[in-house]
Amino acid sequence: MEEKTPAVQMRDITKRFGTTLANDKVWLDIYRGEILALLGENGSGKTTLMNMLSGIYFPDAGKILVDGREVVIRSPRDAFELGIGMIHQHFKLVDVFTAAENIVLGLHEPGRLDRKAVAEKVRAICETYGFDVDPDQKVYDMSVSQKQTVEIVKVLYRGADILILDEPTAVLTPQETDKLFAVLRNMRADGKAIVIITHKMHEVEALSDRVAVLRHGQFVGDMLTAKTNAQEMTNMMVGHAVSLNIRRPEPKDPKPRLQVEGLTVRSMDGILKLEDVSFTANSGEILGVAGISGSGQKELLEAIAGLQPVERGSIRYLEPDGGGAELLGMDPLDIAARGVVLSFVPEDRLGMGLVGSMDLTDNMMLRSFRRGRSPFVDRKSPRTLASQVVSELSVSTPGLGIPVRRLSGGNVQKVLVGREIAAAPTVLLTAYAVRGLDIGASHTIYDLINRQKEQGVAVIYVGEDLDVLLELSDRILVLCGGKVSGIVDGRTTSKRAVGMMMTKLGGDAHE
């Protein structure tokens, strides 16, 4: 490998938040004309490290060199001036502004604000790299991938040649991801330095030239992507050998458990969220639900759980002995009173699932406080349950009396899933069960879900990572704009086919 001077050198960077050491003497080199993948589990300090490069945080110790010169980056503006631009995981865009207005936000170009000239310049950037952005479109009218494009154009407009992307593909469909990667390769060819933060191995392998791994705030090492493999990288991230495969036991004696027919849901604003959705969920089987975010997944689960008013359709619960009950029109209490044990792990963990400011015991009690005749609540059994969940799912918490909001995302999820599973459900609904969790925590959750499946529970698993859906689900229901685009076998279908079905009803006929 020929000698190149790094565009950015980070040396002994240390950052502390309170008592947690987020970055501990990290070294990192970023080169021009190269795509660097920054890997690490949640909480390993990837985003913190990059935030220090983009001026959001200021390092407690260590130095940063840009093009061999030591620099001090105190604010995002300092970063722009050094040509460093970051595309954050949560888009930093103003909804009621147009793309162009967002792009020039914060710039102090001389002269008055000339919207036409800005639009011209934006179009020119788009043509160079193959973006598709309408400068006059309002952000609230844009899809997620369009918003991301605006973010990228924004940093390019500022003349950035060192780009940092924080989990850019988390919200994209496979097709959009391919498009993004093509653009990133164009930029690499143009001599820009690119860093992407991710924890998806296949993306690292497909896109990056070099990989750097962080673990618990420390720099573990870097290597050329071509000379390593997913297993080695994962082991470096986690610190010990892990199995990357998700188990998929054969369904045992599947019987129809939940029969949904012609389900149509309209939102409060009168927008059709689900249209004529029909499917059957079997016991002892995981039914994956795929779709671009906002295709009706949330409404589907909430309708089954009795939280969403339904326009028409039917949701029949079929008991193992052949009896059945119509769940439609019942609220969660009615459903429970019928003896149907339905567990719901909602997308919004601290909004719908748990109460953030209450402790573990009280959160367990949310499911049981109605039991008993005494006017006083029974605090003993929820406490037992809480300590059981903590020990069985190895939740890392200082104690049962701590508000759940102070736990990390993975632990919050374990508490929620633990509580829902403890109810011994016959139907388990999960929405984005592993969102924001790292590989270790995700695998714990997959395992829990698989164990439920083996106990004969009908699991409906709404997910966003197609690779996981394809490995975990027995069948996959693909939603597209609130309609069923198709139901495919998880064992035989391909990622590409599911991706096509997500964007187009029924997928591509020629495939």
Partner: protein, 327 residues
């Protein structure tokens, strides 16, 4: 026949304090600060002007120089309302106190402050009626163009006001232009919509919030000054300002945060406020008519939330404190 030539000027003079208040509040709200202290600030603006004018009139024995009679109340009004704005910013931006509570407390404080100094001045003059008359100052403030009276209904409707009225319209139009068309306005709106984004774009959130809120307070304070010096002919009596401050906040919502619309809407509000004077008596109680501005505001609020047009919604982070490291 309804007498428009006399109705409109009266509606305008009722509307001008509201226009000042609404323009000031709109500027403030665009930075994400919901300043419910506006009624108190307008009150303080009024009394500060009164104090300045009173001291000046006392010191020169009623023989005033017009330029000073204008400048002294104007500057003391601006200083008083600026201090109120700074206090509000310090509490809500620097200390991140709850904006609603702070605003309401400031309104209570401002009214008390005004009544305290108003009462003291009334005692000092030893007058028989509970009010202070500053007729010399007022005559400077309410001076209109000399030929206005010769122009018939045109002069009466358009040219019969003191200079503060025209200043109110000018400030509102300039504010609208700055918010809509300039880089500065774009940045200010970004701060109110999404401070985290504005911060990442390199804007100094604290500076924008302070500047917009203090400027807004000063503009609103002028509404109090106009009310005393021009509308009330220089007569201050405690609590006479009434609910005009709240009406100004209602006007902000009514005009969906657009100062240019506020120019006409303030006249509409002023008209509704005094409509009872032009309706044959016995038709209804005047308090019912005074309710009309609030009723139309509620109607606008309902319409704009039903239509859900994003541009007509309040700034997205209105009322929320911003703290960079909170995630």
């Amino acid at each position: 026949m309804f007498d428009f030539a006399s109705f409109i000027p009266r509606a305008v003079v009722q509307g001008i304090p509201l226009l000042f208040g609404a323009t000031g509040e709109t500027l403030t709200e665009k930075s994400g600060n919901l300043n419910l202290g506006i009624p108190g600030i307008m009150y303080v603006g009024g009394i500060s002007g009164v104090i300045g004018a009173f001291l000046y009139e006392q010191s020169c024995g009623g023989d005033v120089v017009p330029a000073l009679a204008l400048l002294i109340p104007l500057l003391s009004c601006l200083a008083g309302s600026l201090l109120m704005g700074l206090l509000y910013c310090f509490l809500t931006v620097t200390l991140r106190a709850n904006q609603n509570v702070t605003g309401l407390a400031m309104t209570t404080f401002g009214v008390g402050f005004g009544n305290f100094f108003g009462g003291s001045l009334i005692k000092l003059t030893g007058s028989a009626v509970p009010s202070i008359a500053l007729s010399a100052t007022s005559s400077v403030f309410s001076r209109s163009l000399p030929f206005a009276a010769d122009l018939g209904w045109f002069g009466q409707v358009f040219l019969s006001y003191g200079f503060l009225a025209y200043l109110a319209v000018a400030i509102a139009l300039v504010a609208a232009f700055v918010l809509r068309r300039t880089r500065l306005g774009l940045h200010l709106r970004a701060v109110g919509e999404n401070p985290a984004t504005a911060d990442a774009a390199g804007l100094n959130i604290t500076r924008y919030k302070y500047a917009a809120t203090c400027l807004g307070s000063m503009v609103a304070g002028l509404g109090g000054l106009y009310y005393v010096m021009d509308y009330a002919s220089g007569v201050w009596s405690n609590n006479a300002f009434g609910d005009r401050g709240w009406l100004a906040i209602a006007l902000v919502i009514f005009t969906v945060w657009r100062p240019n619309l506020a120019v006409l809407a303030s006249i509409l509000f002023g008209g509704l406020y005094i409509l009872y004077l032009f309706i044959p008596s016995g038709m209804a109680d005047k308090e019912l008519y005074k309710m009309l501005p609030y009723v139309v505001t509620i109607v606008v609020l309902i319409l704009s939330s039903v239509r859900k047009k994003k541009e007509n919604q309040p700034p997205a982070s209105l009322g929320l404190p911003y703290f960079r490291e909170e995630r």
